[in-house]
Symmetry: C2
Subunit: 455 residues, 2 copies
């Protein structure tokens, strides 16, 4: 590992590509060691051994009771687009990442293996085989980084979103964290938040890319731009109609609410409060709106909300919550600790699909050991139909669990077969969460709500 940078051409900040934000292929979302392993394994012949990699996490973030699978659909996109085109190959040649033989092998590469996984929106627990990638070592090892990047990020956001949705108790949640996250991570975050239970996003890129409904009206700057708050409200209502949302906390909230109803009339759509004691203000503003006859005017609150702040407003007359920072940073847990591990591989070098697979696992000391073997996973229910254990095993699944299997086919022989809509994933998450013991939705810290058992 050459960890001392030798002299290199100047690293320009500018875009060499002409594309504002892109790289030309998802194959670049790869740690260099995957390519060097490929080269060495092509050299030794072991690259063609049939191999099984599993994605799982050894633990949930501290205190969390369940995890939420998100990003599966993006993984499918990434696998489909995982090609080494000329740009990428010349980069790797220039950078001396791999030798010519390996470059030639990569030029024809596409993933032709199989991927199974927990469907998007499903819940997971420590050890759950969230994704299983099976193919030659060569093709499966290359997917490690991009698969983990997507699942670790998106699942972290979805887990936070799910807790916030529980706390909101059916009131709509607006995702508005784009400014607190990398600009494209924000798009994935809006998508994951939707899976986890959010209704809308402020992020136009997320609307564009995933057709998530977008919302938003005005910021303090709009009020400050005008000579008076009344001028600003008038401009907004004249342009957007009375059904708009007026931001009422630039100066004095009570004055602003009075002005807002004077300008828009009692059919004013909503007011937004973005600072101060939201519990107190929500009650006061509701009373004031009702006194002014604006009974249908909704109250939207936004101000560094997290699931606890949302829960604390459960009894307040709030109609919608806007959530930013704490959503896109996973509410204290911005990434999951999912890993991508070789769990079984063919014992012989012939690469035959029917060769017997050998279970493998890292054996050294400490917390990084794992359980070898290609696993099935099922959720066992109690007599009332409530989940009581995540059961994992190798070999044949016991007949009583066969109907409760969690892994579904996503890619078969390189073809995506598990594509589905975001709404399907969103609905699945609601159902999966509802199938857990009631204590799953407590916001307080706790253990995983069901244990993981190895059969």
């Amino acid at each position: 590992m050459n960890s001392h940078a030798t002299h290199r051409p100047d690293r320009l900040a500018g875009s060499a590509l002409g594309l504002p934000v892109a790289v030309p292929s998802t194959a670049l979302f790869t740690d260099r060691y995957e390519l060097t392993m490929l080269q060495a394994a092509l050299h030794s012949g072991a690259a063609h051994r049939r191999s099984v990699f599993e994605v799982f996490t050894r633990r949930l973030p501290e205190g969390r009771r369940y995890g939420v699978v998100a990003g599966t659909g993006r993984v499918l996109d990434a696998v489909e687009n995982f090609r080494f085109d000329d740009d990428v190959l010349s980069f790797m040649e220039r950078e001396k990442v791999v030798d010519r033989e390996t470059l030639q092998w990569l030029a024809d590469f596409r993933f032709r293996g199989d991927i199974l996984g927990y469907p998007e929106g499903e819940v997971y627990f420590p050890g759950s085989p969230i994704l299983r990638v099976e193919g030659t070592f060569a093709e499966a090892v290359l997917l490690e980084t991009v698969v983990l990047s997507i699942l670790n990020h998106d699942s972290a956001i979805a887990a936070a979103a799910s807790r916030m949705a529980v706390a909101a108790g059916g009131r709509p949640l607006i995702e508005m964290g784009a400014r607190r996250a990398h600009e494209l991570a924000a798009v994935a975050a809006a998508r994951a938040a939707y899976v986890g239970g959010f209704s809308t996003t402020s992020d136009l890129a997320a609307g564009f890319r995933y057709n998530i409904p977008t919302v938003g009206t005005s910021a303090h700057a709009f009020t400050l731009l005008h000579d008076t708050e009344r001028d600003a409200f008038t401009a907004q209502v004249q342009s957007m109609g009375a059904d708009t949302t007026l931001l009422v906390d630039t100066y004095d909230v009570t004055t602003a609410v009075r002005t807002a109803v004077e300008v828009a009339g009692p059919k004013l759509g909503a007011v937004r409060i973005d600072s101060g004691d939201l519990l107190l203000l929500a009650h006061r503003v509701r009373q004031q709106l009702d006194d002014l006859g604006a009974h249908g005017t909704r109250i939207v609150v936004t101000s560094d909300l997290d699931e606890y702040a949302i829960a604390s407003l459960a009894a307040a007359p709030v109609d919608a919550y806007g959530v930013g920072t704490s959503l896109v940073t996973g509410s204290g847990h911005p990434t999951c600790s999912m890993v991508y591990k070789l769990v079984a591989r063919a014992g012989a070098d012939d690469g035959a699909d029917d060769g017997e697979l050998v279970a493998v696992a890292k054996k050294s000391m400490g917390a990084k050991s794992s359980v070898g073997g290609r696993k099935w996973a099922a959720r066992r229910l109690d007599a009332d139909g409530v989940a009581e254990a995540e059961v994992l095993g190798t070999g044949e699944i016991p007949p009583e669990l066969a109907g409760r299997q969690l892994l579904v086919e996503l890619v078969r022989g390189g073809e995506v077969v598990g594509r589905e809509s975001l709404d399907t994933a969103r609905t699945r998450h609601i159902e999966a969460r509802a199938g857990l013991p009631l204590s799953a939705t407590q916001l307080s810290r706790g253990e995983p709500v069901i244990p993981t058992e190895f059969a």
Copy 2:
């Protein structure tokens, strides 16, 4: 604000664009309210008022002593590519984001204003005007989200990287967090880490996009793939040469180190330890390598390192650190709290550049108030040339501070004039940090190392 989604076409997970990861323009990295404010301000005429927005943060993350500006170069890319092309306009028409008049205005849009800012790699403190965007309200308001996304993310990573670089005391740091972050956030993170003091990255996309040196050799999967550890080491050394890095903790470290030197000879490049008690193992492995005559073989450690773990290994015979999760999550602070606020705007509607600007600021209760007016910023030094205060003010800068101004020109009349290389930013950061009081580089929690004064 319509926060209840009406029925909409199915949200497909698949790529509608054919591009794996991209959106067609940075103009989509925009919260919807910026467009609705634009529409209403075009309607009221206030859209043409000359306006000044500033990016600043009200506080550093708790316990941090300085912040690090990163992402400036990416902001310049984003501004250059901020265009509303047909794809984007038809999306906004379909989504009914704005009216036809506004769509027409957007079709011709490009930013023609001025941007000044702290140069990339500079340090910052609460209140520092990290970026100042000046133009019409219309053109400046649109940049809010993309500017904040980039600066909030990249600066969070650079701040963590800087602390790790201090802890590493000159030993090289390898960025290897791609798998723990959104796949494109990871690329920006590698870039920000380089600015903050890292030497290399594992992420091929970061190498491709920003020409950051890439490194990496093998994972546990490579050892497990082969029938024996010796087979794996032999395959790697035959393919990559003896100067490679062998991973020695799949089974037993002592056995692995012995095998490694037997296979590669005493010229083995490095061994990597990825689990266990790194302090103990580093000493033991160094002794063993020396006993085997492999005096030049380096030791690379990687295992959930953060700045504290790195510091704890200062006296250990470690040659390089690989850092993943804690880097890309900002070591506990995955985002900064930078905001983009209107601080001044013309009082008249004529939009004349020479119209007098009125300082504006949100006035309501609590922590969200800010200081109005277009600011200068300078770092005052003590008699020994060490920074003693971040001084901000409006109007004329006092002559004794004029030579210590922090804002530089980045965009003039819409043209980027502040482009520079990543190495320039990286060097600047080392110098800026060295100019702070010594206590800046303590890892323990503390207050900002210099106070911010308003002149």
